[in-house]
């Protein structure tokens, strides 16, 4: 008789999927966008990204060690992902101290005050970004124009984003078709020749990351597709109605942070709904709010706000939108 047997309840095998693997999968999916941003923005992108990643991990370590006195969990990769996403949402020429402040807000306020990974209601990276946007509006909206690999970043040529160009122009009574002459073409938008934050620069690189996430089953299609679909639908309606003052759907999808937001920010596990029906509603809400903020709001870009607003509705959605149970509806063949 062997007295050394383990006795536990089934299942006796595990899929070997771990939180670390999922987080590092997201990091891998972000690599194309990171490489693209380094190509377009140069050293500034590297410095900003490194600063954000290191400070997020250090803040998480310090808070867990000295304030919460809990086991250290920086190896789970979630602080790394938060740092990366924060950096990708910032302009590449932003001063390093601002990046550090943003990281402190992201990790310290948005994540750890709620109990750390799994408990935060709002996307930490976006909270950090929006805090910086409100606190340092001029630095946060002065975008370097992509100029190939540049070594310095403080003196880079700066310019407005295509969204800001359109927004200002329409306000001043110019028509969209005239304004379109001044901004990159759709193909250039796809490849990444536009001013903006680090991660927004190449739509193509983000889409490669999206395909990787789907292939690895890290995310499902529901949230990204519904964000992009609802934004496209809403802006198409307005565009058909009056193309002079409203830009078309292709422009709205490829410019600004829509793809970065839809693929990487809105799909954050902790702050998004947990069943496909609710995911689609959540995604549509983000798409719609983004369009509303962009077109009628004070800011040229609205993805961050749209995601944070919809984050607030997630607990409600999880409580009231239920998957259709097996056998709930009588199906007799």
């Amino acid at each position: 008789m062997n007295n050394q047997l383990n006795v536990s309840l089934s299942p006796h095998i595990h899929g070997r999927e771990t939180t670390e693997k999922l987080m590092f999968g997201v990091v891998i999916a972000l690599l194309p966008a990171l490489v693209a941003s380094i190509i377009f923005f140069g050293a500034g992108a590297i410095i900003t990204t490194a600063t954000a990643v290191i400070s997020c991990i250090v803040f998480e370590y310090l808070i867990q060690k000295f304030i919460l006195c809990k086991p250290i969990s920086i190896t789970d990769g979630s602080a790394l992902v938060t740092g990366l996403l924060l950096a990708l949402n910032l302009p590449s020429n932003i001063p390093a101290y601002m990046v550090i402040i943003g990281s402190l807000i992201a990790i310290g306020v948005a994540k750890m005050t709620f109990g750390g990974l799994g408990n935060n209601p709002f996307n930490p990276a976006l909270v950090g970004r929006v805090f910086l946007l409100i606190s340092f509006p001029s630095q946060m909206t002065t975008w370097p124009v992509p100029a190939g690999f540049a070594t310095g970043y403080a003196d880079a040529v700066t310019g407005a984003t295509p969204l800001a160009v359109i927004k200002e122009g329409v306000k001043n009574g110019e028509s969209v078709s005239e304004l379109m002459q001044a901004i990159p073409s759709t193909v250039e938008l796809l490849l990444g020749k536009l001013g903006g934050s680090i991660g927004e620069v190449s739509a193509l690189a983000l889409l490669i990351g999206f395909i990787y996430l789907l292939y690895k089953k890290i995310i499902t299609w529901h949230i990204p597709v519904s964000v992009i679909g609802s934004l496209a639908l809403f802006t198409s309606i307005l565009w058909v109605f009056n193309p002079d003052i409203y830009a078309g759907p292709a422009f709205h999808i490829l410019s600004g942070g829509v793809l970065l937001g839809a693929i990487f920010m809105a799909t954050d596990y902790v702050t998004s709904p947990m069943n496909s029906k609710a995911m689609i509603l959540y995604g549509c809400g983000i798409g719609l709010l983004t369009a509303i903020i962009r077109i009628w709001g004070a800011y040229p870009e609205g993805v961050s706000f749209a995601i944070l607003i919809m984050n607030a509705f997630v607990p409600l959605m999880n409580a009231y939108i239920k998957p259709k149970r097996f056998g709930e509806e009588i199906k007799n063949g």
Binding site: L5, H12, T18, T19, T220, F326, E328
Partner: protein
């Protein structure tokens, strides 16, 4: 009523793909040598415990009734060996609970005369439907897929309900197990006759056999044989766990969804395992009660994993011995498959009617992964074949919020383990859900009494 059949060959939502490790799929079934003594539990089925009809010192023959069914939902138990009843005493069975067992010291192998032990395959079904059901009851046939529900109860369809399709479960979706696979290859004709017997008993024209496509040899073999059996169709199904679960298999094959809290008969279906069909054949055509079954003895560390025809009551240690002996680094022994099987406390447990396999795990494979915080990734929601929210049910059960767990349909859980398997945070959701489910079932029973 018009019946439409779906063409998809797996159930639509949920499910997982664990590694298969079908190590013994090419190992033919071998009879396990009869042990020196056997312990035959008197409860090897769902329902009332059988009442022993032998006493200490009695001589019993192989196939002789030793404990008789105690009520309608209960089952007869027969001696699997010949010899002297040495005692009736408590043992710990595969489920980990104590129960009574009849201990028999083996003397030779003298069978009851009425059992036809010849190798002839008898295909002509002579018994009438009621006689078939009575024969299944007499022979102690229970569902051999693992649930061990007495088969004669399933065959006695209530008057207000009607079965129009028999579903035969040859899915064997659990990793490692190959006992049904081997049985289909080696006893295919007998299984098909068994299905024809079930069809006659239920007065049904149509039987569908579901086999996962990772057993192409079994699919081909049965398809070839089924040409001679009108009404029996063989279906190759896309591999996905838990396809062998009753409700999922009905959904796959017929598109019908068994409503919450109802039985397959409520959608005009009855499900039987292939091994049960074989046992029915043996009972009806050969007059042989259920005294042996095929058990897969497997594990990555075992020297000679195989499929064995085992006399009920043989100790698990004798099965492991036949497969090359217990490896030193064994950390866990599971009765059944790794997804839904039960971990054994020791190897002295006897083989019972519901034991489809013995799976050995090395010490390094036998511990759970470390549990960390839920990151709300919703993988458990995606994996749940019943479209429940396992993370929520686990939390509600953990916090003893059982009324809400009832509203969230905790009782629909089939305990397949897909949620725990898939969880990246290593959370043992099913442990908590089981607690919630059993508590809610108790609450419902108490409410019904009032």
């Amino acid at each position: 009523m018009m019946i439409r059949y779906k063409t998809s060959n797996t159930f639509p939502k949920g499910g997982i793909h664990p590694p298969e490790y079908k190590l013994t799929q090419n190992v033919p079934i071998k009879p396990l040598p009869i042990p020196k003594s056997v312990m035959i539990p008197i409860s090897q089925h769902i329902g009332a415990v059988a009442a022993p009809v032998v006493a200490k010192g009695d001589y019993v023959k192989t196939g002789q009734l030793i404990a008789s069914a105690n009520g309608f939902v209960s089952s007869n138990i027969h001696s699997s060996v010949s010899g002297i009843v040495s005692k009736i005493d408590t043992i710990i069975d595969a489920s980990g609970y104590r129960q009574n067992a009849i201990f028999i010291d083996v003397q030779g192998d003298e069978w009851v005369d009425s059992i036809d032990r010849s190798a002839d395959v008898i295909s002509k079904i002579e018994l009438a439907p009621e006689q078939i059901i009575e024969k299944c009851k007499e022979s102690g046939i229970v569902g051999l897929g693992g649930a061990t529900f007495p088969s004669h109860v399933k065959l006695a369809v209530p008057k207000d309900k009607k079965c129009n399709t028999i579903i035969i479960n040859g899915v064997e979706c659990e990793p490692y197990l190959t006992s049904d696979h081997r049985l289909m290859l080696e006893k295919g004709e007998e299984i098909l006759i068994g299905i024809a017997i079930l069809m006659k008993a239920l007065d049904v024209e149509k039987a569908m056999v579901g086999i996962e496509s990772n057993k192409p040899d079994a699919v081909e073999h049965l398809k070839e044989l089924a040409k001679r059996f009108p009404g029996i169709s063989i279906h190759s199904l896309t591999v996905k766990y838990p396809q062998g679960a009753e409700k999922q298999l009905i959904k796959t094959l017929t598109g019908r969804e068994v409503p919450s809290g109802k039985l397959p008969i409520d959608v005009n279906a009855v499900v039987h395992n292939v091994a049960t069909a074989y046992a029915v054949y043996e009972a009806v055509q050969k007059n042989k009660p259920l005294i042996e079954r095929v058990v897969t003895v497997t594990g990555k560390s075992l020297p000679a994993p195989g499929n064995y025809l085992v006399r009920i009551g043989s100790p698990v240690s004798s099965l492991i011995e036949a497969a090359g002996g217990l490896p030193d680094d064994t950390g866990k022994i599971v009765s059944g498959g790794p997804m839904m099987g039960k971990a054994l406390q020791n190897t002295g447990v006897p083989a019972s009617k519901g034991m489809s396999g013995i799976v050995l795990f090395r010490a390094s494979e036998s511990t759970r992964v470390e549990k960390i915080a839920c990151i709300r990734c919703a993988k458990c929601v995606t994996a749940c074949p019943m479209n429940l929210e396992p993370h929520l049910l686990a939390t509600l059960s953990m916090k003893a919020m059982f009324e809400r767990a009832e509203d969230e349909k905790v009782t629909d859980c089939i305990e397949c383990g897909s949620c725990s398997y898939t969880c990246p945070a290593g959370r043992p959701s099913l442990d908590y859900i089981r607690l919630g489910k059993s508590t809610v079932m108790k609450m419902i029973r108490e409410r019904n009494i009032k």
